[in-house]
Symmetry: C2
Subunit: 434 residues, 2 copies
């Protein structure tokens, strides 16, 4: 039998168990105490009856302070009134470390401001909602990896330290790399995994990416995690299908394994149950019509703004894929649509309910001559891109991929408004501590 | 039926299939051609008979150049003489992009120097050995994640950008973080996941870590990946057991799923079959005796050097755990051995055959007073460590963890001598391109 955890309490019904954890809350009612313990997997209520325990244990239990660490012994009993359906009938208690009353745990049940809570992030994450968010994040990442691993993709980590600035240096973190000059923190592993895709067929990278952007919106972090699949012999249609399958898999997995967390977060799960293929597909032209109908004046050719994406995603009850944007609004490496070369064979997936972009991807240019032309048009340093051009010199194939942002995906699935709570230690323009 | 891949050729025996890939090699024998194709999952020999194909297909096949991309149609046939046991009887061939003869693929079958190959890393990874190494790396990482995920650990990513320098700034990459002053690239997520372990019980982080070390050894990269589990309510014995179970799981999984890759790498798998618990456990004192017997003069109290580790690991036929090093040779946060306070409750796991350290870990100090004392003794900035001290103020528990280096583990399992080939784009003191 495996060790007892609160999340698995049902399996231990009627048994004597040992709970190692911390005091989350303490309620008293005459000769009964109701301490709530947390062990990292969940929160469980215990019952201590003065009549049934030694005076030492009663004394220890009555004087327990918030977040004191304990080892509690007791019997698991089903009780419909107890949160989670089970409670611990306590018969012994050891205090590992008692938080002193003159220096109490700084986060009390009262309301605190976000700035204060963020400065206490190392402790705040112990709260029911924050720990549920971190378990949800874990599940989303595990679902992503299992999806790619079970579909024949090979994980090929892209480098974090990169020599060239692909899309301008204004939003890059720069550092000195020994005697080799400046290096930059990666914004995307895409260019690198185009190389590994040519070597290994279907690949993905999954790591931290960085933007030194002075954005203070609820959708921006300076350090965030992104998964990026890249496929040889693939077209835009393949990518849209893959993105749809991936997001469907993630949501189904969370619904299957993280119901208690979704409940803690008070998420309306009926909206998540609805996330099944096919997703809506909307060309840029049609997206623009939708925006114009609502009074937008956005001229053809401009990229959609965050507000435009929010508006579009509010029109649908599940994710929507917007495809074939004007080429001039998009990155230099995107393959043009053969039928309308002013369009790029690209796509963004927008989460519903106004959450906006969670996926951005494209088919990549596979012609050497066209790629060289685009590099020159964009005044990019040809030298730095020789290896990237090589991928079109030697065995070029139609290929493409996309990036899915972990934090935005978790925020949407959790139904929370700011992505800073979806990562253990958020990094923002004004925060790098703790 | 899923799509055809070379790795799954056995499932398609007797069937007409489409192979999308690249020419790896071409052998001619009169009116027969034997092109070898690769598709990222493996290499497969095809047979083209002049009598059985059109003159156009014959012409295309005879003029194929190395790394030209192709779509080949044919029937899968078992043949014991063929590498992998199956060959493709080709009946149609489309060339997607032909590498021109006047600008051939730069990596020919002849011997090249490592410097040249590293400068062509984006292409070199297509070779049989290099792609086998990357698939092996993928399997090692997937095995690690599955191990922790199926044992109740929660993934909690530690930040890459950190404000404080834990162990001196000489080996840290530094950058400017907006108006908040200098920030550093992480060397380890440990301190951060001590916080998440107190919130979630059993956790791990798994990301890139950085050392701006001017080391040019075969065991050093400036950017490498590390998995770090951290457990609340855990002792040194628990950690040694966990490390043993983890490494056993990784090796078993690679043996189960990556036999063809180990064969390509000419790895003696009998040595890997031997990696089963219990691993040898050796105290620092006993390790020192072993070294002294062989003529070493290392005084008690000094850390083992790389050469010492190599020597020790050569004495054993499977991994060996060295535990309880002198505290003064180790990091400030390690819990002292209650029976001999001059020792730290720490452990390193050394891979056999001279591969040296793959795991380093310890139980952490859980006493607030002792930790504060150690911070002061080490002249560390108390302000920056307030949050870390908080973990001992509020619900401190015995806890610990370790770090396992991915690249060193892959190098050992693959049986190769330099870790630079175990990562897609290695970063070393003298290399950041491509």
């Amino acid at each position: 039998m495996s060790e007892f955890t609160i999340a698995q309490a049902a399996r231990f019904q009627g048994q004597q168990v040992t709970l190692r954890g911390w005091l989350y809350n303490l309620r008293e009612s005459g000769k009964l105490l109701f301490p709530q313990f947390r062990d990292g997997t969940g929160i469980m209520q215990a019952v201590v009856s003065k009549a049934d325990v030694s005076s030492e244990v009663w004394e220890r239990a009555t004087t327990l302070t918030q977040e004191s660490s304990v080892i509690a012994h007791g019997t698991v009993r089903a009780d419909k009134r107890a949160p989670g359906g089970y409670e611990l009938v306590l018969n012994d208690l050891t205090v590992v470390q008692r938080v002193p009353t003159d220096q109490p745990y700084p986060i009390s049940p009262k309301e605190h401001g976000v700035d204060f809570l963020m400065s206490q992030r190392h402790l705040w994450m112990r709260s029911a909602k924050q720990s549920a968010l971190l378990r949800l994040r874990h599940e989303v990442i595990a679902a992503i990896r299992d999806f790619f691993d079970s579909n024949g993709f090979i994980l090929t980590d892209a480098p974090i330290l990169t020599p060239a600035a692909c899309e301008g240096t204004t939003t890059l973190f720069e550092l000195d790399y020994f005697d080799l000059g400046p290096a930059y923190l990666t914004q995307s592993g895409q260019l690198y995994i185009e190389a590994t895709a040519a070597a290994l067929g279907k690949v993905y990278c999954f790591g931290p990416t960085f933007r030194a952007e002075k954005s203070k919106t609820r959708r921006h972090l300076t350090e965030f995690w992104m998964v990026e699949p890249e496929l040889s012999f693939a077209t835009l249609d393949d990518l849209m299908k893959l993105g749809e399958d991936l997001v469907t898999h993630i949501v189904a997995r969370v619904l299957e394994r993280r119901r208690p967390e979704l409940e803690t977060l008070e998420r309306d799960t009926s909206k998540l149950e609805n996330v099944r293929p096919p997703f809506h597909r909307l060309s840029y032209d049609d997206a623009l019509k939708l925006l114009h109908q609502k009074g937008s004046q956005l001229p053809w050719g401009e990229d959609l703004s965050g507000a435009d994406e929010t508006f579009i995603s509010q029109q649908f009850d599940k994710p929507v894929i917007v495809h074939r944007y004007p080429a001039k609004a998009k990155a230099f490496y995107m393959e043009p649509d053969p039928e309308r070369p002013e369009l790029a064979l690209c796509m963004d997936m927008l989460a519903p309910d106004g959450y906006g972009e969670i996926i951005g991807g494209s088919q990549r240019i596979d012609s050497y001559d066209l790629l060289l032309k685009r590099l020159r048009e964009n005044n990019l340093p040809e030298d730095a891109f020789q290896w990237y051009l090589d991928l079109r010199r030697y065995g070029s194939v139609p290929h493409g991929g996309f990036g899915l942002g972990v934090e935005r995906t978790v925020a949407w699935i959790a139904g929370i408004s700011h992505i800073r709570e979806t990562i253990p230690f958020p990094r923002m323009i004004y925060r790098i501590y703790p």
